[in-house]
Symmetry: C2
């Protein structure tokens, strides 16, 4: 079996790495990481540097917060690029800018290392239950090599296209989710101010053209005023940044996305960045004096 | 059985009236209407004025394009108000401003006439198949009286609350639909410009948090560039007007809705008002030089 190096053992990465370990893959982790001890106890090998993790792996997976974090572990001192061997495969499962993903692909290609961008959706629950959606960009060959690993971590696994296509798809996912939350929050605020029973409204709207998973799940959260994350506003705001950067790069004016980002900024400034992204409704309620 | 007067025999009203006729209700229509001949042939009685239709009915239903049309047939010369008798029921199934619906309720109440606002969603297909969603505002008593009629025309029938609650719910439906189309159009335009396979993207996004009926149906339309209506942009724009008016009335700043309305205005100015509302994507593609 291929030896896996897994860098980024946070609330998403740790359960994902554990699934690979349970499936029998030899696993290398970074010993500095707090979660590493638990994985070492379960059978993983710990190394002192990203370079050493890469040197002792056939496939290196990263699962980190943002583009600069991925660039740091790849290009930084004792980074992946220094240790990784020709014929290896690099898979970034973080959510980062499509342009950065494409650049990483080119850099690794020069070292005869394959690369995939494979961001996920489904959150902590999906990571723990191994039911993540995985959106993959890169070559057919690299995708085929990585597929058995993806199948240990997710369910809805789609090879979208070439390098960067996975990240672009993830960006589109986050755009649609953000704007749909805005739509539901705006509508529910109007209805609440007008004295309409929100539970009944949600019921009838779910039966028609306005139906969405957001209306279902976040509509319920808004009614119950339950904003315990879930997916934190400040993390979604980070993704909005990636989206707006991609819009700028491709020359697509992203009006709705920019609006959602501005509303998230206001919530973060009010000290609500740790709340679930459905708390966008709080801003509307505040503006409407509810 | 109660005698029904049906005013507004357009693409929605005609099939709705036919369902009532088929269920055995005596039906009165306005003889001026082009569709009336077909209904008379099927057994309806034709009268020369709205007043006469109301005079010869126990329940009067209106299904008209906009608030002023409903106000005209109620308050105008030989209008419903002149003919309707105490103890009757007035049901407006048009999509109009919640404030107008509330005013109509009060006016009819002074005449000892019950009133319901009962806008629908589901479009021409839903009207023909008798599968409309019907969102009802008004008293329990009036709702109970109207329910057998609604069951001839729709499936998802919910009594939301007091007078105006049906129209507010419909406004919220149209807001969410409009903003979700904007979300999908914006995302698909970015992905298209980035060279991503839209069919694969739609597939993976439908499996996650971005799922919506709009992503499913209008996502497909955008991919196929099939903008044959469906629901025309100019009609949705009319509804956005009702929404923005309600936002102003209740003091709720409807950022996303205002944005969607502005984009629809641009499309209408470009001569695209007759296209399906999913054609919002055309404006984004134009701006992105696709």
């Amino acid at each position: 079996m291929e030896r896996i190096g897994f860098i980024g053992l946070g609330i998403m990465g740790k359960p994902m790495a554990l699934h690979l370990l349970k499936a029998g893959y030899p696993l290398a982790v970074l010993e500095k990481n707090k979660a590493a001890a638990e994985l070492v106890e379960a059978g993983a090998h710990a190394y002192a540097t990203n370079s050493a993790v890469a040197e002792n792996s056939d496939i290196v997976i990263t699962m980190l917060p943002d583009s600069p974090d991925v660039q740091e572990v790849v290009f930084g001192a004792d980074g992946i690029l220094q240790g990784i061997k020709p014929g290896s495969l690099f898979i970034d499962m973080s959510t980062i800018a499509p342009a950065v993903a494409k650049n990483l692909y080119e850099v690794f290609q020069q070292q005869a290392v394959g690369a995939l961008d494979a961001p996920v959706s489904g959150g902590q629950v999906g990571a723990e239950a191994a039911t993540l959606s995985i959106m993959v960009g890169g070559s057919d060959k690299a995708f085929a090599r990585a597929l058995p690993l993806f199948q240990c971590m997710g369910k809805n696994i789609v090879h979208i296209g070439e390098a960067g296509a996975g990240q672009t798809t993830k960006a589109c996912n986050q755009m649609i989710v953000g704007m749909t939350i805005q739509a539901v929050a705006e509508a529910f605020t109007l209805a609440k101010k007008a004295g309409v029973n929100l539970e009944k409204m949600r019921e009838v709207l779910l039966g028609g053209f306005a139906q969405s998973r957001i209306l279902d799940l976040h509509g319920k959260r808004i009614i119950d005023q339950n904003f315990k994350p879930g997916f934190k506003i400040k993390l979604h705001r980070k993704d909005m940044n990636i989206i707006l950067q991609a819009g700028k790069e491709y020359g697509v004016p992203l009006y709705g996305s920019a609006l959602v980002a501005a509303h998230m900024d206001a919530l973060i400034a009010q000290g609500n960045g740790e709340l679930d992204h459905s708390a966008l409704a709080l801003l509307f309620e505040k503006m409407a004096d509810i």
